[in-house]
Amino acid sequence: MRRDVPLLIKALGIAGFGILYIPVMIMIIYSFNSSKLVAVWAGFSTKWYKELWTDDILLTALYKSLLIGVSSATISTVFGLLIAIAFVRFSVFKGRLILSLVASAPLVMPEAVTGLSMLLLFIAMEISFGWPSGRGVDTIMIAHATFGMCFAAVVIQTRLRDMDKYLEEAARDLGGRQPFVFLSITLPLILPSIIAAWLLSFTLSFDDLVIASFVSGPGSSTLPIVIFSKIRLGVSPEINAIATLMILTISILVLFGSILVLKREDKK
């Protein structure tokens, strides 16, 4: 028997998804607009996409964003994994409380505060050690890795906590030693969460504007910074095109991640 969903709930659902996705749809549609005016439809065209390929500033920014995204996501995931293992596998250790506070604070810290404090740190370091000399790709990478790490730790921790801890003991009992036990048992079982953590950190880094604005230097503008500065001069359809590409990239990543997680769940 099929039960009908009450009309009100249906309406709320449609409204909710509408609010989320209608603007995105409009933006995607207008990225194929041949007119230079954003709000006037003048026929289908892919010229803004072609123009993107010739816009050196945007392409450089894209390359930098990708570089920062990939490297900071990787650093975040490695450190996030270490934090997660410390919390889940070792119930008592010195400084556990401090670590748990320190590791979760950036989750709730306003980005402006994180960005400003990072900037102050980098300046102080430059004065004391001469490194980093000025702000650039490396400082953004470090800043992104720092807050991405906290998100990664949360994602991996959940999975690690769900994992049967007797599996590791069984492996040890059967003659396994570290790091072999970790590589043969733990890692394959928490791999979906590690991939999810990487994707999350990458996405956070890829679309971060606030922190990047604080710690970027001349010549190290990321894509969001460039887009934002372009918008201040007026929205061009080019922006719609690049945003559409960003949505496409992230959708593919998320889809890939979900399929991977679902596949694992299936096997379980």
Binding site: D164, Y166, L167, E169, A170, A171, R172, D173, L174, G175, G176, R177, F180, S184, I185, P188, L189, K267, K268
Partner: protein, 357 residues
């Protein structure tokens, strides 16, 4: 000759809590020893100490003449079968069983033949490529057993091996487990809270309570000659009668409680000593008329339960003594038979267990 496995004065403290309290016992090669006790009695902690996962606060373990104190779980000639089996979900049955063999750096063809030998042993031929998630509970249990046996341990530890199985499967698996144990001659230590399981499986049972090993003996000794009220009460059904030793009369001791009871025992008793008499239900007979036997008194039946093979009665005797008794149905029981409301019970003077009070 030194015992095969020696467990000497083992204690384990968690903060102030004494989880295992000065436990010592020896095991002979090929024994099937059960650690029996209520949950939280320290039996699982003791098992984990033997496996090497817990470090003892005091005492030591010796296996085949080798001191185990500083030996890593990975190097101990001991394997454990976990209660939830802990099968590696991402590996096939064969890879699960072969995991320990690969660690022992055996050549591939030897691993293969050993794995198929083990699959045969646990009747899982042809299941090697399946994932644990596609197996039934009983099959998983057998994979776990095969995996634990793969490295030919000198001592196999089994944590509640049958707890996750349903009743019918449990008794089948029990026999299977005994058969495999006899066939291989491996020493088994089984942890269980199920006294029936301990009785049917083991050559010897160690009963634990509050971290202490309170009695070690054969299933028969544990059942028929419990040394403490706890053991008597934990293992099987039993009723207690509080009495005082009155006098020695011929071959019997006369006990004074709500009713006079004659007991024949080799135990040393003092006059006026206060003791508990313990009676197993099947040792008591219920008759409708007085038979004039020794230790007979009238009772009122307050409750009864049909068990198929027999019926259990709860009766109240003079002075309010409560007793459980069990009558097996030697002849088919009739569905319309009326249960007696009153009657007489009697029990033999040598079927009574005397416990200190």
């Amino acid at each position: 000759m030194a015992p095969f496995i020696r467990i000497q004065n083992i204690s384990k403290k968690y903060g102030k809590l004494l989880a295992v309290d000065n436990v010592s016992f020896n095991l002979e090669k090929g024994e099937l020893f059960s650690l029996l006790g209520p949950s939280g009695c320290g039996k699982t902690t003791l098992l984990r100490i033997l496996a090497g996962f817990e470090i003892t606060t005091e005492g030591y373990v010796e296996i085949d003449g080798q001191d185990m104190v500083d030996v890593d779980p990975a190097d101990r000639p001991v394997n454990i079968m976990f209660q939830n089996y802990a099968l590696f979900p991402h590996m096939s049955v064969s890879n699960n069983i072969g995991y320990g063999l690969k660690r022992a750096s055996l050549p591939d063809n030897e691993i293969k033949s050993r794995v198929s030998e083990l699959l045969e042993l646990v009747h899982l031929n042809g299941m090697g490529e399946r994932k644990p998630s596609t197996l039934s509970g009983g099959q998983r249990q057998r994979v776990a057993l095969a995996r634990a046996l793969a490295r030919r341990p000198k001592l196999l530890l089994l944590d509640e091996p049958l707890a996750a199985l349903d009743k019918k499967l449990r008794s089948e698996t029990q026999f299977e487990l005994c058969k495999i144990q006899e066939q291989l001659g491996t020493t088994f230590v089984v942890v269980t809270h199920d006294q029936e399981e301990a009785m049917t499986l083991s050559t010897r049972i160690g009963v634990m309570n509050n971290g202490k090993l309170v009695q070690v003996g054969t299933p028969n000794e544990i059942y028929e000659q419990p040394q403490t009220t706890f053991v008597a009460d934990f293992v099987g059904e039993i009723s207690f009668i509080e009495v005082t030793v009155k006098e020695q009369k011929g071959p019997y001791w006369l006990m004074q409680g709500a009713v006079p009871i004659h007991v024949s025992t080799g135990a040393k008793l003092r006059i006026n000593q206060k003791v508990n008499l313990a009676l197993r239900p099947e040792k008591i007979s219920l008759t409708s008329k007085s038979t004039g036997k020794i230790n007979e008194f009238p009772v009122k039946v307050i409750d009864w339960a049909f068990y198929g093979a027999g019926t259990q009665y709860r009766v109240v005797g003079p002075g309010g003594i409560n007793l459980k008794l069990y009558e097996s149905h030697n002849i088919p029981s009739k569905s319309n038979a009326r249960q007696p409301e009153t009657g007489f019970i009697n029990f033999s003077p040598d079927s009574i267990i005397i416990l200190e009070r």
